[in-house]
């Protein structure tokens, strides 16, 4: 059993009075320690995929299971704990500085202040962002905001980390450092699911997938069984 499994998931959106197929019978499995990158054009449904995979949205059809638990029933208890979703838009009311942002997130989840401070500092150190702690969020550039978002999610000890476009707007010279950070988190055993708006962001992923026209297509780097058969499955069903 994989850590995250999307089985025959379908999702449609209404756009301008017509139904648009975002995902149609898409399946995906992610194991602990895997880095999965999904590329698609703008509007292809990559953000929808993340929202389905983390239980923020429910599929119209199909199931999404995390460690064997259906997110339709257990999504609320898992999101923000075992499932981390990185948001890059910060509500500055939560905290003026980067470390305060992480601390408040922990306090909301029930951590005591002293523990929250330690965990926040550790999370920032983990993303090589110890120096960010005392800085105002408004002063951070795109790459630093990404690191803070990852630290924020990591502070809660997730087994799955979902991140939407971690390198969007990040300077080319710093892009690979962010990708290497996500790679290192996967190597430590966290399952990482990320979307990228530029196919160069697929480099180094264990599964490189593309999304578009309702389909999720991809390949597997390591000896893991599931997604490699997607195109075959599509052919069989078509």
């Amino acid at each position: 059993m994989s850590l995250l499994e999307l089985r025959n998931v379908a999702k449609r959106h209404s756009s301008g009075g017509r139904k648009v197929v975002v995902l149609d019978d898409a399946s995906l499995s992610i194991d602990a320690g895997e880095l999965v990158a999904v590329w698609g054009l703008r509007g292809s449904g990559r953000t929808t995929l993340l929202r389905l995979a983390t239980g923020i949205d429910a599929p119209d059809r199909g199931t999404v299971c995390f460690a064997g638990r259906d997110l339709a029933d257990h999504g609320d208890e898992l999101l923000g704990r075992e499932i981390g979703f990185c948001r890059k838009s910060f509500r500055t009311a939560r905290g003026q500085t980067a470390i305060e942002e992480v601390i408040v997130g922990l306090l909301v989840k029930g951590a005591v202040p002293a523990e929250a401070r330690v965990r926040a500092r550790e999370a920032l150190e983990r993303v090589d962002g110890a120096s960010l702690g005392a800085r105002r969020i408004s002063e951070l550039d795109s790459g630093e905001r990404t690191r803070l978002a990852i630290a924020d999610a990591l502070s809660l000890g997730p087994r799955l980390l979902a991140i939407d476009e971690p390198v969007a707007g990040v300077d080319l010279r710093h892009r690979d450092a962010v990708l290497l950070l996500l790679r290192s988190l996967a190597d430590e055993g966290i399952a990482v699911l990320m979307t990228v708006g530029d196919p160069t962001g697929l480099t180094g992923a264990d599964q490189s997938l593309t999304i578009g026209d309702g389909e999720l297509c991809g390949s597997v780097k390591r000896e893991l069984e599931p997604v490699a058969d997607l195109s075959l499955r599509r052919q069989a069903s078509g």
């Binding site: 648009v20 509007g43 010279r173 710093h174 450092a177 530029d198 196919p199 593309t210 026209d213 390949s219």
Partner: protein, 218 residues
């Protein structure tokens, strides 16, 4: 590509030099002067599987050609000792022609890719086959991309020429594969849309719109 069409004061026309090995060897000499055996070793280290010499003597033959064309010259004072190792350096003409050839390669690469795409898109009359091939093409690109490692480095700062060279090659590869993946996705979407339109009485279900970025982010 200049390769000496009007060399030596325009006295006689010299056919263009097409051998990639010759140009690669000239590039190594442009980088720094070397003798033949060392050049063969550097060639192997630098080009690996991408380009190969048939044997060490191939380097000697190529050097002869470069010398004959006035692209390299022997460095004075290096043909000494019991085992003379004459070193060769690039002439001014050699440098200029090498630079011109490099720039010309952009167009050559474009032509090669265009021929390939014409061959691939020749299948678009059979949309099912075309989509199948595009699936496989995209899959091959994704596999190659997955096999590419993210270059490590201190915020991307190269610390020497070799590291920089590796980073530039890796980045070019990522960008090229990325463009192919995006193209495959676009082509598949267009072929499907064409196929849908060709079916009488079969209204679009809205999937084709995804290719053009016309929908807002979802």
């Amino acid at each position: 590509m200049g390769a000496g069409a009007e060399r030596a004061g325009g006295q006689r026309a010299v056919a263009a030099m097409h051998s990639p090995v010759n140009w690669a060897l000239l590039g190594l000499i442009v980088e720094r002067p070397s003798y033949a055996y060392e050049l063969a070793q550097r060639f192997e280290r630098t080009y690996g599987d991408a380009l190969s010499l048939s044997s060490v003597s191939h380097a000697y033959v190529a050097l002869g050609t470069l010398k004959e064309r006035g692209l390299v010259e022997e460095l004075a004072g290096t043909r000494t000792g019991r085992q003379p190792k004459p070193h060769y350096r690039a002439t001014v003409a050699g440098m200029e022609e090498y630079h011109a050839w490099l720039i010309g390669q952009v167009a050559e690469e474009r032509k090669r890719q265009q021929v390939f795409l014409l061959q691939l898109t020749a299948l678009t009359r059979d949309s099912a086959k075309a989509v199948e091939i595009l699936d496989a093409y995209e899959g091959a690109c994704l596999d190659e991309n997955s096999a590419t490692r993210i270059p490590a480095g201190e915020d991307g700062a190269p610390d020497d020429a070799r590291v920089l060279q590796a980073r530039l090659i890796a980045e070019e590869k990522r960008l090229a594969i990325g463009a192919k993946i995006a193209w495959a996705r676009f082509a598949r979407s267009e072929i499907k849309a064409l196929s849908m339109r060709a079916r009488p009485g079969n209204p679009s279900d809205g999937r084709a719109a995804a290719a053009g970025g016309r929908e807002p982010d979802r």
